[in-house]
């Protein structure tokens, strides 16, 4: 009988368990609900952090997916690679600029835009959060939406403007999600409106800057609006030079200048130290933070330091962004005038003598004092002896004899946290928009609307900080009474040296439609500085560090300017159609409503509308 009881109780237990649907009462233990996040400003801020991380530009400024925009795309630094560069060689095909996206992807541009749109939509749905906190959160997200679209419109002209998260479950929703390209004008309008909203709700400065430095401010939003409208007015988007576009650019840039000035923005006194103040840097308007942490989860290190240092293993660099002779030549003399027009004599052999002080702070050259690796009086030697570079035992040397030293932390930087043997853990912040750029944007728009005196003021202020001599006319080397066109050219030249290696040159030439006229046919030039075969003291290699540089060059060196780069590759050949790139073929196949950009195969979309 006992056995029977066991049996029946087991059967009973089984049935009692079976009758219960609680087996199916389960939740996703690894996730948070959108309601939870959107209802709490602390949690929402954490969600916003991801938007920051996805959208903040990297060191050196934003480049397209294909990498275009870096220094090798202009005369700053010529292509050193052994392979083909389609953009430089006029071989770009429809599929090469993939920033638009080639597939559904949560992390490409439209993926990032969706994250922003979802964040905004979730917050707007919520009724729990304090209104002020909510509008500040949304304003930051909306700033990045404009930033994201700007990066796309810059490349292609108009693109589909998605401002709410599209649904794509079910046929109906999917069909509704197919949308065509908006016109370029509509895109600019949306970006401008987004930024107006951001300006309205964002604070001028965030409280507790030690924790919030790097957040978008009212001034940053205004500056981006100014920059975007400057592009809209520039010949790339405004080939007919419509005055109204320039007026809008002027208004926006002046407003940005005023907002920023009012909130304490000003130029850092020493051009060479702009990059080394982080929290509270008065020149930094739009910043991407990097840190010196080493842990995988904690670190966001700047690759700039390690990438640009010479390739000596003692400084563990990558020798990137090697300056070309063309850039060396572009710097004015100490009085702000171009070589040859200046009162200071210029010779190719003594190229470093009496130059704009920014030269010394941007370019490292043979014989310069470059305190690296904790050696205060370290001098860089890159000359050739008997046809072979003396640098680094002749291995892994600079191809032009120069190095970029912009923003590199050398041991003379006060408070440097850099460990020279571990330069990959550099924490130098990237300043995407410097106040100097706001000033020059303002100057350019002012010149275009005829307010030349405002333009003069801004350019002079930039030059004054650079350390250029004021001159008897107090114009810091600028020509007096320049026309609008002359001023525009002067500002472009100013930008070339002021922002060298800051990822601006290519986009400036492109928005001004000057790529072909400035660069086509060039291959770049390098300076080959060789030790003379006669008359050189035998102990030169050990005594050179104590000699005066000018004497060394005059007595012992010769300089030859030779073409740089691989002769097997063709010279630069930008094509006019590169002012607006083609949408990738995959994107057109994906959405038949998208029209291809004019000038490309089957192109019917006019980016100038």
């Amino acid at each position: 009988m006992k056995k029977k009881y066991i049996l029946w109780s087991a059967l009973g237990a089984m049935l009692s368990l079976a009758s219960c649907e609680s087996v199916l009462d389960k939740t996703d233990l690894n996730a948070a609900s959108p309601e939870l996040i959107a209802g709490d400003s602390v949690l929402a801020n954490i969600a916003l952090n991801y938007i920051y991380n996805q959208n903040l530009p990297d060191w050196g400024g934003p480049t397209a997916v294909s990498g275009i925009g870096g220094s090798v795309y202009t005369e700053e630094s010529y292509n050193q690679g052994t392979g083909q560069n389609k953009f430089l060689e006029g071989a770009v095909v429809e599929n090469d600029v993939t920033d638009f996206g080639t597939a559904l992807n949560a992390t490409n541009n439209y993926g990032k835009i969706r994250t922003i749109n979802t964040f905004i939509a979730d917050l707007e749905k919520d009724n729990l959060m304090d209104k002020g906190a909510k509008s500040r959160l949304i304003a930051q997200a909306i700033f990045f939406r404009a930033w994201r679209y700007f990066e796309l419109v810059k490349l292609y002209g108009g693109v589909p403007m998605i401002t709410t998260p599209q649904n794509a479950v079910g046929t109906e929703a999917i069909n509704a999600a197919f949308v065509p390209r908006n016109t370029t004008t509509e895109c600019f309008k949306q970006m401008s409106a987004d930024l107006d909203s951001a300006v309205k709700y964002l604070p001028s400065t965030w409280i507790t800057p030690a924790a919030n430095w790097g957040r978008i401010t009212k001034g940053a939003a205004a500056a981006l609006k100014g920059k975007i409208l400057l592009y809209a007015a520039s010949p790339q988007f405004n080939p007919t030079n419509q005055a109204s576009k320039w007026q809008a650019a002027y208004d926006a840039n002046k407003a940005a200048y005023d907002i920023l000035t009012a909130s304490g923005a000003k130029l850092i006194t020493d051009y060479g130290k702009i990059w080394f103040t982080e929290v509270g840097n008065t020149e930094a308007v739009f910043v991407t933070g990097y840190n010196t942490s080493v842990g995988d989860q904690q670190k966001r290190n700047s690759g700039w330091e390690a990438a640009n240092r010479p390739r000596y293993s003692t400084v563990s660099g990558g020798g990137s962004n090697i300056p070309s002779w063309d850039l060396v030549k572009a710097y004015p003399m100490k009085d702000g005038k171009k070589p040859g027009e200046s009162k200071y004599t210029y010779s190719d052999l003594l190229f470093f003598k009496d130059r704009d002080p920014r030269f010394e702070k941007t370019i490292a050259y043979n014989g310069c004092t470059w305190p690296m690796s904790n050696i205060p009086n370290n001098r860089l030697w890159t000359y050739l002896a008997a046809g072979k570079s003396v640098e680094n035992g002749g291995v892994n040397v600079s191809n032009t004899g120069f190095y970029c030293r912009k923003a590199l932390q050398t041991s003379d930087v006060a408070g440097s946290t850099l460990d020279p043997s571990n330069t990959i853990f550099s924490g130098t912040d990237w300043i995407e928009i410097r106040f100097a750029e706001v000033m020059l944007n303002y100057a350019e728009a002012a010149a275009a609307v005829g307010k030349l005196d405002e333009a003069y003021t801004q350019v002079i202020n930039v030059r004054k900080r650079a350390g250029i001599e004021a001159g008897s006319d107090n114009l810091y080397g600028l020509k007096a009474n320049m026309s609008t066109t002359e001023m525009a050219k002067a500002i472009l030249d100013e930008r070339q040296v002021e922002f060298a290696f800051e990822g601006k040159r290519f986009w400036d030439l492109r928005r001004l439609r000057l790529l072909e006229s400035t660069l086509n046919g060039k291959r770049g030039t390098k300076a080959v500085i060789s030790l003379k075969t006669t008359g050189v003291p035998a102990d030169f290699a050990t005594t050179r560090d104590g000699m005066k540089l000018e004497d060394v060059y005059t007595n012992y060196f010769t300089i030859a300017l030779t073409p740089n780069g691989l002769m097997s590759r063709p010279a630069i050949n930008y094509l006019p159609k590169y002012y607006f790139f083609a949408l990738p073929t995959q994107a057109l196949n994906n959405n038949p409503l998208l029209k291809q950009t004019n000038d490309w195969t089957n192109g019917t979309f006019n980016p100038l509308e």
């Binding site: 029977k4 089984m14 368990l17 087996v23 389960k26 996703d28 948070a32 969600a47 952090n49 991801y50 903040l56 052994t82 392979g83 429809e94 597939a103 559904l104 992807n105 541009n109 439209y110 835009i113 969706r114 994250t115 979802t118 998605i162 794509a168 479950v169 079910g170 999600a177 197919f178 030690a210 924790a211 430095w213 982080e278 929290v279 990097y290 840190n291 080493v294 842990g295 995988d296 989860q297 904690q298 670190k299 966001r300 690759g303 990438a307 000596y312 563990s316 660099g317 020798g319 946290t417 460990d419 990959i424 912040d429 002769m567 994107a587 057109l588 196949n589 959405n591 038949p592 089957n602």
Partner: protein, 1090 residues
Amino acid sequence: MTFHLQPQFGKRKGTKLTCTLLLAAQFIAGAPFLEVAQASNPALGSAVKTSNADHTVTGSVKDSEGAPLAGVTIRIKNSKTGTTTKADGTFTLNAPTGKETLIISSIGYKTQEVSVADRKIVNVILVSETSSLDEVVVVGYGQQKKIHLTGAVAQIDMKAIEDLPVGSLSAALVAQQPGVGVSGGFARPGDPATITIRNPSMFSKDGGTLSPLVVIDNVIRSFDDFNTMDQSEVENISILKDAAAAIYGARGANGVIVVTTKRGKTGAPRFSYSTSIGISDAKLPKMMDGYQLATYRNDYNAGTTNTSLLYSQDELDYFKTNSQSWLEQAWKASYTTRHALNVSGGTEKATYFASVAYNQQNGNFDKINFDRWSFRASADVKVSKNVKASLGLSGDVSTKDRYLLKQGGTSNEKDFQSLLYAAPFTPAYYNGLPVSLLSSGANTNENFHFFEAQKSNNYLMSRDNGLNINASLEYDAPFLKGLKARVTYNRNMENSFGKEFGTRYKLYTFTMLGANKHIVGGDVRSIATVSNSNRIYYAPSYGDSYQLNGYLTYDKTFGKHSISVLGLFEQGEAYSDGITSYLDNLVDNALDNAGYALGGTASGAGVGTISESESESGRLSFVGRINYNYANKYLAEVSVRRDASTNFAPENRWGTFPSLSLGWVISEEPFFKDNVHWVDQLKFRASVGLTGMDNTRAYNWLQSYNLIQTGNGPVFGGNLDRAGIFRLKNAMPNRDLQWDDATKLNGGIDASFLKNRMSLTLDGFYDYRYNMLTTLTSSVPLTVGAALPSQNFGTVAAFGTEISLGWTDHINKDWSYKVRGFFSWSDNKQIKVDYDQGLKGTYRDPNGRSTDMGFLGLKSMGILRTQADLDALLEKNPAYTIYGQKPQVGMVYYQDVRGAKSATPDANGNYSYAEADGKIDDNDLQYLTNKKDNHFGFGLNFATTYKKLSFSFNLGGSFGGQDIMESGARSWGTSAQLAAITNLPINLVDHWTVDNPNAKYPAPAFRAQNGLDSDFWFVSSFTLAVRTLNVSYELPQTLAQKLNINSARVYLTATNPLNLYNPYSYKYWGSTFDVYPTLSTFSLGLNLNL
């Protein structure tokens, strides 16, 4: 329990080893084994000579493996006198004259007649009856007589795979059955094989599998659980290929593997021990030597002005005699060991089974190792007349060790690849110092050095324990014959402990020798500290799940009708939790303990994280099934299952999955039976069923954010650590999500002919899968910008045939043989498919076509060997470019097929292409072959036995597709490989240069253009290989008896001994050349039955 202990263990003349193992087994089984001693005695027992008129015959009956058979009927021919064997297989029978003939019969065995011929002792071995009507096949939730089977169920011949030295059970199934695809499992120790059944397809990208469902002893288990079993604990493996899987409803669409484990059998204790030791090795890919690689690079750099890139003549000469393969230095033969021990036995009242198996396999690089203990014990007890109880316990303990090579990612293949690709002109050590391989100006401190990582004891280890408890109670209703009730409860617990340990080591660069400084040598120029993660990392986790079943079954035969009914319910819940955690910054020469990790940086910031992943799920099902047969002639089966799973929103949880199958055994019909004598059996069967697949991530129906993470956060406040983030986990919920549906149709014939010597099975199937869980990617505009949740969208019909033909016969009394060949074909057709709307009507429109549309590539026209070739091309086609690049001598060039695709569709919505435009680009791609994958498979199993010697092999092959050389064998596959001076396969030595215009392969310089997918690089996809081979010899009975054992067998087994067709010059097996190669294993084994 009614086991009786007998204190005579010490009398046993077994070896010491045996005793020890016995004790161990006894401990596990919790049952006494001491009857072993008694078991083998009767065979030796001396028959007392009597002078009685009656002749007393004693003897024993055993099966072909030497196990005593109980309950065997022994009858004197033409009389009613008879007896049955006792539990130990012995019998005693009075034979009046001593001239009688005994008829020995038992269910499942061939009946034998033996003449007594005055013998006192008659020992008989019964041979199991393979093609008997009584053969039983395990199916879902039960078993059926084979003759009653109406579905396509493949059975694995356990005997054929019992000796194979495989690391995972799946691997043992290679080339065994048509329609059962096995891939992998023969390379890196501990990496299991995978199985697919009948070409399944899957369109969801957020979870799901193509693997079949695994059911072990009626409990739904993971595929890993299947792989951790040893052959010796498995009684039966059935593979449900068609609607027979519908009994598993929403998870059965990929087919089901049904496993039953061994249970105790009535009879004397039966003890079996099997051991083998094997050696594994592989033919390594053939790579360039130092001189060849330097020459190839020179030819690549031919256009450069930077002469320091070039290898000078003195350097080339030096490399001719100074070249080494890092891989060959590190690679050596590896060993596998297997021990399997089991015991079973019992009485009518209770039976028991216990087994322990140990598998060990080390790697071909030192310190790679895999070992696993699998154990199982069960007891079945008749509690009372109507109640049976059983209890089972099983588990496994495994350890897997491999290298941690963290630099630049952590693929498992880093060890093999870092060695294979190491430039052969760079020695691993110079003057005893480890040489840095890094030669291009990478802006990182990181670099590989396999041997230094090996020396530093850096590892990646996982230790997994599984424990499974199975209890059931069965009640035979006394009030209604044939009615049974059963409850089973299964609990499964898994624990896993993963650990990674990576230190730092130093690498040296030298001032270098040679005109262009390419020869390693000179003084030390710099020392780099390389961080191989510099971290100790832990990943412990556990999982806990149960399944509870209640069954009611009723079997009834009335007249010629027989019916069996099954009703059951099933519920299961699972929970798992795991953390990953690490500490960085180890002290120099650290040991692998977190105590040696500083866990902070110099600046004091904490470095280390902990993150948790936790999940729960539940399912609930109800199943009903009725089997009916009339006179073993007309067969029918109907089943239905209701399933609910927490993967879907509450209102969409339940699904219903019915099935129906019918069979007609025509050979039982009088008109057939009486007329067609050469056919022994012929059955037609057909099945249709609805199954499903829950191939998706759980909780796709809720929008959600991932919990706080770092690592993707921005930096605020200067140099603070990254901030935490919430990130969208499920960006777009889909509440309407449901199972995908699969209607499975199958028609088949089972037949045997010519006195059962020939057997044939023929199947044709058509699986119509619709509402398939599909992760849409192409038919959704990319501006949506999210990974979409699965939707019930796609429709695919899969179809194919499977034929299996066997012949079993003997040449004479001593020599028998068995040969079976099988052939399969499968393909599919996409009926509703996710595709780019802009491709409608073009050659890439997949509608109505197979998922395998063929090999997509350019049609090559060969190499432009001379300037004349180039001129001729340009004359005909002045604007000819290849992806924007002008053609050059030494380049592969391609046929121009089309121009641009039209921007707008025609009236029918179809797009078309313009005429050829002289430009080679994506528009010129075409499907160069009908198929890319091999859709035809075949196998041949052969076995022969001559007296005590057996020999068998399995041959497997496939064809019908198209292979192409890997991109890494066409040139450097990536620019990173180019920059890092990775080595290349030997085929590229014969490359185009001005001096060698007739080379087989193009000039190195045009890497991008030459490396495009095109028929230039085609190789045959035909495969034919001997997958397993076995020679075994059974010790003669007399010798075995002298050794005091029932039987003993020695064998030599090989897996992958021979590849019979290899179209590649640089590798031996078809797998990618830069991964751990397929191993050939030869092992020597011994099998004892006591």
